[in-house]
Symmetry: C2
Subunit: 207 residues, 2 copies
């Protein structure tokens, strides 16, 4: 067991590629990197650790990506792209409340489907330019949802005794927290989870 233990089977090129080479593609490197970043934190994860987990050398990684920060950038792009797509094509005929519920369910779906990538996004500190840009895009997403909440309050669909901004933040806190505990295959599907989130958010826990 002193062979590269955590590495997924390297993608041996079949079909269109060269055969017989131990070739990692960018996706394999990225997924191993993101998992490590989430386990130990971005800063605490060295390129050496990544190489170990991939079963290669540090420099091999630099063949696929320009550096550590590009791994971060690619991962954040994937998370943000999926979230931002939730805001496209809203049904203009639907009520603000309906659109909010749809975004909420969509967010749960994306968080579950892209768990490691979104996890990374939600833990950013803003130390570098890459991180700050991602944080700005995340803030823009948050604001779009906040506008939906305000609209629903104006419609009289949501209670007005709780500040809309505070409500939005608590709502997001609830949804985003799932990256800290939800693990797929644990007997709770993404749909069930979305149901629980919507139920608690809109109707509350009281019997």
């Amino acid at each position: 067991m002193d062979e590269p233990a955590h590495a997924p089977a390297p993608a041996r090129r079949g079909g269109n590629g060269r055969a017989g080479r131990v070739a990692y593609d960018l996706d394999a490197v990225l997924s191993v990197a993101v998992q490590a970043f989430n386990e130990r934190g971005y800063d605490a994860t060295s390129m050496g650790t990544l190489a170990e987990r991939l079963g290669t050398s540090k420099s091999a990684i630099y063949y696929h990506v320009s550096g550590k920060e590009e791994l971060l950038r690619l991962a954040l792009e994937r998370a943000l792209g999926n979230l931002e797509r939730l805001l496209d094509e809203p049904d203009p005929a639907a009520s603000a409340l309906d659109r909010l519920e749809r975004v909420l369910r969509g967010a749960v779906r994306v968080l579950v489907a892209e768990l490691p990538f979104v996890t990374l996004l939600l833990r950013l500190r803003g130390n570098t330019e890459v991180e700050r840009e991602a944080l700005a895009r995340r803030r823009e997403f948050d604001h779009a949802v906040a506008r939906l909440v305000e609209e629903a309050v104006a419609d009289g669909a949501l209670r007005s005794d709780v500040d809309a901004r505070t409500a939005t933040r608590l709502l997001f806190g609830m949804v985003n927290s799932l990256v800290e505990w939800y693990r797929p295959g644990g007997g709770l599907s993404a749909d069930q989870l979305a149901d629980a989130v919507v139920a608690m958010a809109f109707e509350g826990l009281r019997a």
Copy 2:
């Protein structure tokens, strides 16, 4: 402005101590450290940065604490101690729902009062033994609250169509998220915040 810009005025010893010395005590070092850890992450914060912010040298810090990890340990102890105290002396006559609400409000109060310390706690990754021990204590706290939720569901006070464990986690997600956005002095008091949390958690957002 090339003097130690971020350093709080060093505690010049008055009264019982020696006068005229630039003396930092442990509390001052700790509070600067925790703030830096929260801004840039524990791993991304170097002892050199801490020294700069304190307006001293790296080695001066080692006079007060045994090392970087002890700063972390002291900070986590403060956060965990305050949270764990919430579970002491519950009124055994009160219903599970009442006790849950009291813990919830207490948690909001502690998070607000000890914001930087709890923030640090909630961002742990478990890289070292110190971090893993803190995570274990945090899990124990979570379990105690989960038991309260289960009790309240058994009483019929909370809805049973949402899994108690899931509900607890969403509840905590909501409360814990406030370290990411709540800033004191922003026109929202801790009590108002607790009201909003309890309202949303128990009654939901629907008008």
